[in-house]
Amino acid sequence: MKKRKMNLKRTEFKHAMLFISPWIFGVIVFTLYPILSSLYYSFCEYKVVQDPIFVGLQNYKDLFADKTFLKALYNTGYMILIGVPITTFTAIWVSILLNNKKLKYTGVFRIMFFIPTLIPTVVACLLWVWMLQPDSGIINRLLGAFGISGPGWISSVTWSKPAFILIMIWTCGNAIIIYLAGLQDISDSLYEAAALDGAGFFRQTISITIPLLKSTILYNVVTLIIGVFQWFAEPYIITSGGPDNSTMFYALYLYQNAFQFFKMGYASAMAWVLLIIAMAIILVLFKVFKFNEVDS
C-alpha cells in the first residue's frame, strides 16, 4: 500500500514535470540564462563585433561617474517619489468614488477610466506630443481659456517631468480596476458599524478602507514602480530624453547604450544596478506594508 502510494506520487511528479516542461525550458533559456550572462557581460567590454573582454568592475565605476546615468537615476527616482504617489492617490480616490453604492452609472465611468490603458503606447505618445505643444497644444489652450498661461511642458526642463506624470495618471485604469476589486472584498457591515458610531465618509475611508486595502495598494505600487523602471516608449517617442536630459529615464539610457552606442557590457551593468535597486525597493515596501505572504 505504502509502495503504491510512493509510485503514485512518483508518476504524478513525472506528469507534472511534463506539463510544466515548456515553462521550465522558457525560464532557463529566456530568463535565467539571460540574467546570469548579463551579470558576466557587466564585467566585460562587449561591442558585439568583438568577443567580450573582461574588465572587472570598470563598467560599474564608469556608471557612477557618468553624468547622464546619474541624471537618469535621478529622473527615475523623481518619478517614483513624486509620480507614483500622485498616481496611486488619484487611482485610490477615483475607485473609492466609483465604489460608492449611492452613485449610479459607475460601470460607465469605470470603462472611461480604463480605455486609455488600451490604446497602443506609440499612439498614446504621439497624441501627448501633440496635446502638449506649448503654443498650439490643447492642454495649454484649455489652461488659456481659464486665464492661465501654460508652461512649455515637454520643451521645458522644469515641466517635462510633470508632463510625464500626467501621462502616468492617464494610464492608471488598470490600477483602478484592481482597487475596485479590492474594495468590493471589504464587507459592508464594517461601514455600517462605523456609520452607527458616527464616523463620516472621510473617517471611514481612513480607518477602514485604506488599512484593508493594504495588500492591493502594495501590489499596485510595486507594479507602478516596475513600470517606471521599464518606461521606454514614452520618453523615446515623446522627448528622446530631452530637453537637457530632463526626461532621460533609466530604460531609455539603457537602450541607448545597448542599441545606439553598442556598449553591451555597460548596458548589462546598468541592467544589474536596476535589478538590485528594484529588488531593494520591493523588499523595503514589503517590510513597510508588513505583508509577507505573496500567495497562500
Binding site: F13, W23, T31, S38, F114, V123, I178, A181
Partner: protein, 289 residues
C-alpha cells in the same frame, strides 16, 4: 439589523447635504472622465481634418467637413496592409503560444500534487516582477547568434514557453475547480493529459479568453520588442511604423492620427465586445497577487 430599521435609516439619509455630496461626487467623476477621454476625441476627429486645420487658432473640435482624404493618403504613402499582416502574424502566434504553454504549466501547478510545487511556483511570481531590461541585452545577443534578428522569431518563439502572468491567471482558475469533477475521470483511468484537454480546458474558456485578450493587447501594442529585434521596413509592425512616421523635424500629424485611429479601433471594438473578460482578468491579477 432588521428591514424596518434599514428603511428608516435610509430615508433619513436623503437630506440637502446628501444631495450636495452626490452633486460634488458626480462633478468630480465627470471632470476626470472628460480629461481621460479628450485625447480620443482628438484622435478620431483629427483623422478627418486637414493638416492646416489641425493647428488652427482658435481651435475647433469638429472638422469643417468630414473628409476621408487622410485615410486615402495613408494607404497610398505607407504599405499599411504589409504592416497589418506583420502585426497579425506576431499577434496570432502570441495568442496561440500563450494559450498552449501557459495552460499546460498552470495545470501542472494547480491540479497535480508534487513536492516543492509551491516553491517552484514562487519562481513564477518572482519572474512576474522582473524588469525586462535585465534580460533584453543577452536575449538580443542570443537571438543574434541564432541569426534570428530581422525575423519574427524573437517575438514569437518565447511565448511558446510560458508567460508568468498568464500562468498565474490560469492557475488561479484551475485551483478553483473542485476535485470531484476530475475524480470520476481519474478512476476511469483517463490520463492526466486527457483530463486537462477534455475536462479542464473546456471549463476554463472564460480564463482562456482573458489570456487571449491580454496576449492580443500586449503584442498589438508592443513597441520595444519590434524596435530591438526587427530590422527592415518590410517586417515593421503597425506600432513601429507609427513611430517612424514621427520624424522630429516635420511630423506628419494628419497621417499619424489616421494610422493611430486605425490602430485603436480594433482594440476598442474587442474591449466593448469582451469587456467582462478584461475586467475579470485584471481584477483577478490584483486580488491575490
Amino acid at each position: 439589523m432588521n428591514s424596518t430599521n434599514q428603511k428608516v435609516s435610509r430615508k433619513r439619509r436623503i437630506s440637502p447635504s446628501e444631495i450636495l455630496f452626490k452633486v460634488i461626487m458626480y462633478g468630480i467623476l465627470v471632470a476626470i472622465a472628460v480629461c481621460f477621454l479628450i485625447p480620443f476625441m482628438f484622435l478620431f476627429l483629427g483623422s478627418f481634418k486637414g493638416e492646416s486645420e489641425l493647428f488652427r487658432v482658435p481651435f475647433k473640435w469638429l472638422p469643417d467637413r468630414f473628409s476621408f482624404d487622410n485615410y486615402v493618403k495613408m494607404f497610398q504613402t505607407i504599405p499599411f496592409f504589409t504592416y497589418l499582416r506583420n502585426t497579425l502574424i506576431i499577434v496570432g502566434f502570441n495568442i496561440a503560444g500563450s494559450l498552449i504553454s501557459c495552460s499546460l504549466a498552470a495545470y501542472g501547478f494547480a491540479r497535480l500534487h508534487w513536492t516543492g510545487r509551491d516553491k517552484v511556483f514562487m519562481i513564477v511570481i518572482v519572474t512576474m516582477i522582473l524588469p525586462y531590461q535585465v534580460t533584453l541585452v543577452p536575449l538580443f545577443l542570443l537571438f543574434n547568434k541564432l541569426g534570428w534578428i530581422g525575423t519574427f522569431l524573437p517575438l514569437i518563439v518565447p511565448c511558446f514557453f510560458g508567460n508568468p502572468f498568464f500562468i498565474f491567471l490560469l492557475r488561479q482558475f484551475f485551483v478553483g475547480v473542485p476535485d470531484e469533477i476530475t475524480y470520476a475521470a481519474r478512476v476511469d483511468g483517463a490520463s492526466e493529459f486527457r483530463i486537462y484537454l477534455s475536462i479542464l480546458m473546456p471549463m476554463a474558456k472564460p480564463a482562456l479568453a482573458t489570456v487571449a485578450i491580454f496576449a492580443f493587447i500586449r503584442s498589438w501594442n508592443d513597441f520595444i520588442g519590434p524596435l530591438v529585434f526587427l530590422s527592415g521596413d518590410e517586417l515593421y509592425t503597425l506600432s513601429l511604423a507609427a513611430s517612424m512616421l514621427k520624424s522630429p523635424l516635420n511630423p506628419n500629424w494628419a497621417l499619424l492620427l489616421t494610422l493611430g485611429s486605425l490602430m485603436v479601433l480594433p482594440v476598442l471594438i474587442l474591449f466593448f465586445i469582451l469587456q467582462k473578460y478584461f475586467i475579470q482578468g485584471i481584477a483577478m491579477s490584483g486580488v491575490k497577487g
